[in-house]
Subunit: 264 residues, 2 copies
């Protein structure tokens, strides 16, 4: 039983200012996670393993927001366009590691036994772009730690280094055999239809293409069409919701939009 | 053709002061590496790939010195004794990442296309202690980057997290099929015999046990006996030498002590 939760970059950062954390939103998100895991008031067991009361194990992923995107743009790096400029790679990665540091600090303040899993070190791509990931996430989870990953830049065969988005990491980690719930906490309360209303459920990309705008409406890391298309490939149901609904999701609710091809 | 080079923690840090870099020694080491790779004055190729003139690819590993050991001791963590305390793991790792940052800064100043491969993210151990490592080092090397690893703390099945030493990483990376030379740059000019003279060549642990002091003379990461014993397991010859001999080693020389079971 593992819960895969992504905190969107636009939720935890102020996208209008370079490298600026949205302190209030990040605090609210981390408070909800600490309360869910029961680590705020947890005693440790005899073996020193933190007592996590929430049941499910948790993998956390966060986006780049105003940290990574600026540097990625500056160095012309995307999920498909690579660079061999090590200084550029390091500029992107260092910015993301700074954001990750803020997130980890707050998690530790709430007693969450979080550890970083930096994609630059943990991951790479082969010549076809397939993502290779270290065993670290599995091992950390099994030992009671909460792995925290993030959008980053990683080596890719033939292209130097390219971006790996938080969403791509979500999909990869949600395909673990014991991942049973996936949550994407965003700045919107769910996927919106043509009237601006939250769609309850998406079971196929065809049914949703009317309001998702088609595959041409993509940004550097895929846009909403690509995001939903990837979530539909998962075995586990995924929920897209806003920060107001994070507690509800963690408590087992189904806020926002559920993306689940198997319920059809 | 890959060169695996370790800079000992006692070479690049001042072990008498917590978290203190030995600036002069680190500068000398990095100057030698930059000069060897020809990146000091390198132009970039049409594709933006840095032109490395030195021929062989390079993997760099550095030790912990006055950065990691203090925190590891404080939290009771060694290569065999683990911890489930995420704050302790992060304290050890953050110290090593600070040291790695200094090393990377200097490498980039000399034009070396270095990228960090942090073991906490890249590696883990199974229940028997076997080291699992991401594909990142291979991918970075193939794209012309210089991966830089370091002694760190990593997740281990059943024990939370334990230390991985720089020497263990050297052995693992030196067993890559194309690793043909291994160098350990230390504060001594080589392995010393009972008279304090540098031993030219070691071909078996039995022949060396007289001056290595036996397997009981170990420190937290193995001591000289364990180090030589592991180097004797390698396919490639390994050289143990001092900072004065680094240029000679990089130029293809065989300074200090050669450890090579196959020359027997």
């Amino acid at each position: 039983m593992t819960l895969v939760l992504k905190l969107g970059g636009s939720v935890i950062t102020d996208k209008t200012e370079p490298e600026t954390v949205d302190d209030d939103s990040l605090d609210r998100a981390i408070d909800a996670i600490g309360a869910h895991l029961g680590t705020d008031s947890a005693s440790t067991t005899v073996e020193g393993v933190p007592a996590i009361d929430g049941g499910a194990e948790l993998v956390l992923i966060h986006g780049a927001g105003s940290f990574g995107h600026y540097h990625a743009d500056e160095h012309g790096v995307s999920t498909t366009a690579g660079t061999h400029d090590a200084a550029g790679v390091l500029a992107i990665h260092d910015a993301m590691e700074r954001l990750n540091g803020y997130v980890l600090d707050r998690l530790h303040d709430r007693g969450v036994p979080a550890l970083p899993v930096g994609p630059l070190s943990a991951a790479a791509r082969d010549a076809k772009g397939a993502l290779e990931l270290s065993t670290t996430v599995e091992r950390q989870l099994a030992e009671g730690f909460v792995p925290v990953l993030y959008g980053d830049v990683i080596a890719r065969e033939g292209k130097g280094a390219t971006i790996v988005s938080g969403d791509e990491l979500v999909v990869r980690l949600a395909n673990r055999p014991d991942a049973d719930r996936v949550g994407l906490c965003s700045t919107v309360p769910g996927v919106l239809d043509a009237d601006g209303e939250v769609v309850d459920r998406i079971e196929s990309i065809e049914a949703a293409s009317g309001y998702l705008g088609g595959s041409e409406a993509t940004d550097v890391t895929g846009g909403m069409y690509g995001k939903i298309d990837r979530l539909l490939s998962l075995r586990a149901p995924a929920s897209v919701f806003g920060l107001d609904e994070l507690e509800d999701f963690l408590a087992g609710g189904s806020p926002g939009t559920i993306v689940d091809r198997f319920s059809a």
